[in-house]
Structures are given as structure tokens and as C-alpha cells.
Amino acid sequence: MFYKNKILFFIVLAIISLILYYFINQQLILIGLLNNSIISISILFISIIVISFVLSTIVSLILSLILKLYRKITNKKIKYNRKFIFWLNFTIISYILSFIIFFESITY
């Protein structure tokens, strides 16, 4: 998603983090540093990116292993754009993660 305009994706993610903060703040009593909206939104934004990065790395690794195995079995070469697949995983996981957080924060 937004493969050729990655900054746009991060802007969208920042807007999502802001919306998520609003709902989390409605549910929980954020005390101390977390009471500061800018800090909380930043933490949320970075957490989504980091978790998505880790998960997409794992998914990409698993995918490459499966492909290697497929190559060994069938002796066929499959060409694919690694960067694109990684980015796609990363963005989809970010959206899914954001959606899960949103769903949890509106559930009472």
C-alpha cells in the first residue's frame, strides 16, 4: 500500500494513531507521561510501526522459506519483488493491528 509514496502511508498511520488515542483515552485513565497526548500518540505510532515491522519480517521469512521449499520440490524459479512483498506485509499488518486496537478500545 502506498508503495511509491511511503511518506503518505506514515501520515495515514499517524492520523490513525491520533484517532486511536482518542478512543483509548475515553476508555482508560492515562496517568503520568501518558497523560500527555503528544507523547501517547507518538508511543502508539511507534509501537504500531515496530510491532508491524517485526511481524512482517517474520512473515517475509516464512514466505521465503516456503518459496525455497517450493523451488526444491518443483525445481521452478519464482521471481518476486521482495521489497514490495515486505512493504505490503508491513502495511497490511499495520492496518490489522490498528483495527484490533480500535476494536478493543470501543468495546465495553
Binding site: M1, F2, I29, S98, I106, T107, Y108
Partner: protein, 324 residues
Amino acid sequence: MVKNLNYKISLLITILLFIIAGTIYFIKNKQYSCDTFLYRANHYFLNENFLQSARYYRKLISMGFVDEKVYINTSNSLIKLGDYKRAKKYLKEALKNNPSSEIYYLLGYTYYAKSQISLLQEYSEEAIKYLKKSIELDAKNKSSYRLIGQIYEQLKKFEHARTWYRKALFEDIENPSEFYGFIAYTYFEESRLDDAMKYYRRAIDYNKNYISAYCSMGEIYKIKNDFDNSEKYYQQVIEINSDYVLPYYKIGNIYYEKQDYQQAINWYQKALKIENNNSIINYYTGMSYKKLNMLAEAIKYLKIAAYCGNDDAVKELRTILETF
């Protein structure tokens, strides 16, 4: 600008995500019922689970449920959680709907609680301002009088504190003994022991079971080195509540000061029957045995005191072990 297919799909998925999220939010909110939330919030509030009660009360308010009790309980939950800023916000909203003595009291309490953390006098002044308004609306609001007095006590303005306690007494409030006790305490803090005793006696006249007043009388007599009267008052506390550890310990201390260590031990033992892991009582029991040169017993009790976190007991144990 829509440039290529990838861009179009990305934009479409993102917009779709927002639409789905909005729809789910709308559907979920339709399913929520105010009655269920009120029941849950009250249940958590009564069970002192303030995090959960604040969560449900705040949701209720955001759903447009306007009720003074809900605002009060929300603020109370937030105060308990230390979120004074939000508590004030809800109380001020409640004031707009229906100004009442209780809400003004809670606002005063919020500022008071904040002053306890920040140690800023301006919060105390703000608290007093709201508490006075609370009294204007309900002249018999005991809690407001008490809190104003308490704030003045902390500011060391004892005369001001007494003025407000006397105002409360003038309003013919229920159970005036407490307020006589508060006045006595202000005199005690100023070391005006005779005046303090006068008011503690009045407090006892109104409430024969006012343990705190008896204990304070015992303490004052002890300060005045009148050990017999001091013991008499502590004995009265034991007559009222024989499970209360303080009078046993205090009588033990009287004998300790009189250097009658065997009697002191007898009283400390009685106290230890109620609270066997009390570090101070174990320390003084150990010290009494030490004074009687019964070192094995002394070490036994000092060890318990040290184990319970008494630093003096640790030092004493070191001294005993180094000397012998």
C-alpha cells in the same frame, strides 16, 4: 492525484478501513444500554474498582446520560485514581447542570488533594473557596467544615481552623463530639495543653466511647508527667475496646519511662497478643528485657523487631552482640 493502480487500491483500502471502523463504532454504540452500564459502573464503584467504575461512568456521560450521582461517582473514582484534572472537569460540568453542596465539597476536596501533592498554597485557597460555597448551600455539611479546618491546620492557621469548627458546632450538627475533638487537636498542636484537655473532655461528654479523645487525654497527661491519670485514660480505652493495641502499648511505655520494666513487659505482652509482629512493640519489649539484663529474651524480641523493619532494633542488636 490518482496516478496508478497501486495508488488507487491503497487509497480505496484505506478509505474502506475508515468506513468499516465507523460503521462498527456506530453499531456497537447502538447495542450499548445505559442501564447495563449504570449497573456495572455502580457495581465496580461499590467494590472500589475505581479504574473500571470511571471507565463505565465516563462512557455513560459520553452517551448523554446526565445524572448528578453519575457525575459525583465519576469524579470520586477519578479522585481515587489521582486524576484530579479530569475530576475537576466533570465536577464543573455537574455544577452547570445542578449546583449542589456535595459537588462544591468534592471540588474543594479535589483542590485539597492536589495541594497535598503539589504543596502549593493556591490550591488550598481554591479548595477553601469551593468549600465555603458548599457550606453556603448546606450549612450542616460536616465534611466541608472538617476539610476547611484540616486545610487551615496544615497551613498552621489554627485559629482559623477553630473558627470553622466552632461554626460547625454553632449549626447544631449531629455528633458534635468530633468537632470538639478537632478543636482540642488544634490546641494540642499549639502546645496549649490545658485548652486541649478542656475540649477533649467536652468531646468525651458528648460521646463516652470517643476513643481518640481518651487516647489524646492519655498522651497529654503523659506529656505533663502525670502517669497515673495518663494510665487511667488508656485503661478507659481498653474498657471500650479491648482489641485496640495502642492503649496496651502506651501503658507499657508509661511503665518503661517509670523504669518499671517488668510491668512494661507485661503490658507489651498484652499488646503483642493483639499484634505480634508490631516492630515498635517488639523493640520496646526487647529493650525492657535488656534493661533487666535478660539478654536472650531481649535478642529474641529485638530480632523480631529488626525482621519487621525496625532500624533501632538492628543497631541495638549489633551493640549487644559486639559487647557480649
